[in-house]
């Protein structure tokens, strides 16, 4: 069962590659215990891995992948593991653990660009995997996916993509209790990976109705 969990990861394909956003909170049950957990990591030269759910399982998967990348580099044959290969590897790992009734309690989002071909996929804790133009894990499934379905289109520019992701993360911040207002956005293109510094979103609480909600309706709350 999960102890320290991360909340949700949202990712989209845009014109030049993949954009992925995740907040930096690690909750211990209902306490927001860790507020600087980096939940997106680059893997090899071509991919980004983001995870929600149990953080320790994410770290173990990272160790496994490090070994994998190391062996791949040792071959030194000019070919390197791309996102599609990593995605199949992770699917097999998650599915086998689930078959042994000992799942790695995380949902992973894998994105990458190799030889001009963009790839964005997701693996859930029971081994369910699929590839899509926009993915979200955890609460993002319910809150972010409707927004992405309506507003995603091919050839989003970088700024538009960031704005779309920020919109989703803002809704998640308002309505999911385990998100923190500190997020990182990661970008991967043919040239390489950049993970932004943590920053926070502006929220708006100034609706006049929130000031005194029961001014006309005495007795309700």
């Amino acid at each position: 069962y999960p102890y320290v969990t991360g909340s949700s990861v949202v990712a989209i394909k845009y014109k030049d590659g993949i954009l992925m956003a995740a907040d930096m909170g690690g909750s211990y049950g209902s306490t927001l215990r860790y507020k600087s957990v980096e939940r997106i990591k680059p893997i090899g030269k071509h991919s980004l891995l983001g995870a929600s759910g149990e953080i320790s399982d994410f770290q173990e998967i990272l160790q496994n992948l490090d070994e994998l990348i190391l062996y791949d580099n040792m071959w030194d044959d000019g070919n390197s593991l791309g996102p599609k290969e990593l995605h199949s590897y992770l699917t097999r790992v998650m599915y086998n653990r689930r078959n042994k009734f000992d799942p790695l309690w995380s949902s992973l989002v894998l994105g990458g660009v190799k030889k001009g071909h963009k790839y964005l996929g997701m693996v859930s804790m029971i081994g369910l995997n699929f590839e899509d133009n926009h993915v979200a894990t955890g609460f993002g499934n319910h809150l972010a996916r409707p927004i992405l379905r309506d507003e995603w289109h091919e050839n989003l520019s970088f700024e538009d993509g960031v704005k779309l992701l920020e919109k989703c993360m803002r809704v998640l911040l308002y309505r999911d209790r385990s998100t923190v207002n500190k997020l990182q956005i990661a970008k991967i293109t043919e040239e390489g990976v950049t993970i932004s510094q943590p920053y926070s979103l502006k929220t708006f609480w100034g609706f006049s109705a929130f000031q005194n909600p029961t001014q006309d309706a005495e007795g309700s709350w």
């Binding site: 319910h142 809150l143 972010a144 996916r145 409707p146 927004i147 379905r149 309506d150 919109k167 989703c168 803002r170 809704v171 308002y174 309505r175 609706f207 006049s208 109705a209 929130f210 909600p213 029961t214 006309d216 309706a217 005495e218 007795g219 309700s220 709350w221």
Partner: protein, 335 residues
């Protein structure tokens, strides 16, 4: 096995505590026990009323069984009690409220593998928004019975008063009954006071009713209206708690609709913007939630007037309707 051919079904029930129980479909207290069929069921407890409940439930309804008698043969004594299928075997307590006497029977039945019947939920997306001059309520139109869509175009926006409407999510019977009840109470109140009903009156009546039933009346409501004090929008949860909000969503599609609201709501909406926002939110629920679907109903309430736009949007038209009616060849014989 019960004997299908005869009109009398005789079923014998063995209960270890009280001996053997026979029951037959014709009441003839003086006849002997004619058993044309035997159906042996082992029960762990046996009181006449429990047994008669259980047996009444177990009789297949296609058999011609209208009355049966439960005859308790215990050791040497025979106790005779009679019950009719149509009469309830349990007395309703005189003070109203729920009686939970059948719970034991229901638990026993589900343990034996008879699942309880599923009831019609509205598995819904309902939303409400306050705009410049009033309130806009919106709802989808799908009613589900478990995994099946039982009504493709039902009405979820219920009338409470000329200036107050209420959307309901949850069990369809509960939302209908509760809104009808409170609507009549509001009408009586209007006659009594001679004034237009206020939204908080409806709110308090609904709230106290739902709290009295401790969440068993599964009705989650979005109540909106305009009265002398201004426009109001409230959400009411099945246990009786309420919220007063500028925009609200309820139902299984509430997350999808709330995502749209949180990103697009701003103060001072005009009527067109409000209706568009509500339609977008409901469409987001319809397309992203399995419990919601079909069409969009919208109701705009402003001071002094209301517009009930039934089926304002039909985003799911029926495609591939063939123009030829299906014709059966004549002289078809069904074997």
């Amino acid at each position: 096995m019960p004997n299908d051919k005869s009109h009398n079904t005789n079923i014998a029930v063995y209960s270890p505590l009280r001996g053997c129980v026979f029951f037959r479909s014709k009441i003839t207290p003086l006849n002997g026990f004619r058993s044309l069929g035997l159906f042996i069921v082992k029960l762990s407890s046996a009181s006449a009323i429990d047994l008669s409940d259980t047996l009444r439930f177990l009789i297949p309804s296609h058999l011609n069984c209208r009355r049966f008698s439960v005859c308790l043969v215990a050791e040497k004594k025979g106790v005779f009690s009679e019950s009719k299928m149509s009469r309830a075997a349990v007395e309703v307590p005189p003070k109203g409220g729920f009686s939970f006497d059948l719970r034991r029977r229901n638990e026993m039945l589900s343990k034996k593998g008879v699942p309880p019947p599923s009831f019609r939920k509205t598995g819904t997306t309902i939303v409400g928004v306050i705009f410049q001059d009033g309130v806009i309520l919106g709802a989808d139109t799908r009613a589900t019975e478990g995994p099946i869509v039982c009504d493709k175009n039902c009405e979820k926006i219920h009338y409470m008063a000329p200036n107050i409407y209420c959307c309901g999510a949850g069990t369809a019977a509960d939302t209908e009954a509760v809104t009808d009840t409170v609507s009549s109470q509001l009408q009586l109140h209007r006659y009594h006071t001679g004034r237009e009903s206020r939204v908080i009156a409806a709110l308090t009546l609904l709230k106290s009713h739902l709290f009295k039933y401790q969440g068993y009346v599964q009705a989650a409501l979005v109540l909106g209206g305009v009265d002398v004090t201004g426009p109001h929008l409230h959400t009411i949860y099945p246990h009786g708690s309420t919220d007063t909000l500028p925009f609200a969503t309820m139902g299984s599609g509430s997350l999808a609709a709330m995502a749209v609201f949180e990103s697009k709501y701003h103060e001072g909406l005009t009527k067109e913007e409000g209706v568009n926002l509500v339609c977008e939110a409901i469409c987001s629920g319809i397309f992203n939630d399995l419990g919601s679907g079909s069409n969009v109903d919208v109701c705009v309430i402003t001071k002094g007037q209301k517009e009930y736009l039934r089926n304002h949007l039909l985003p799911n038209p029926r495609t591939y309707v063939s123009s030829k009616v299906f014709s059966f060849p004549r002289k078809t014989v069904f074997n």
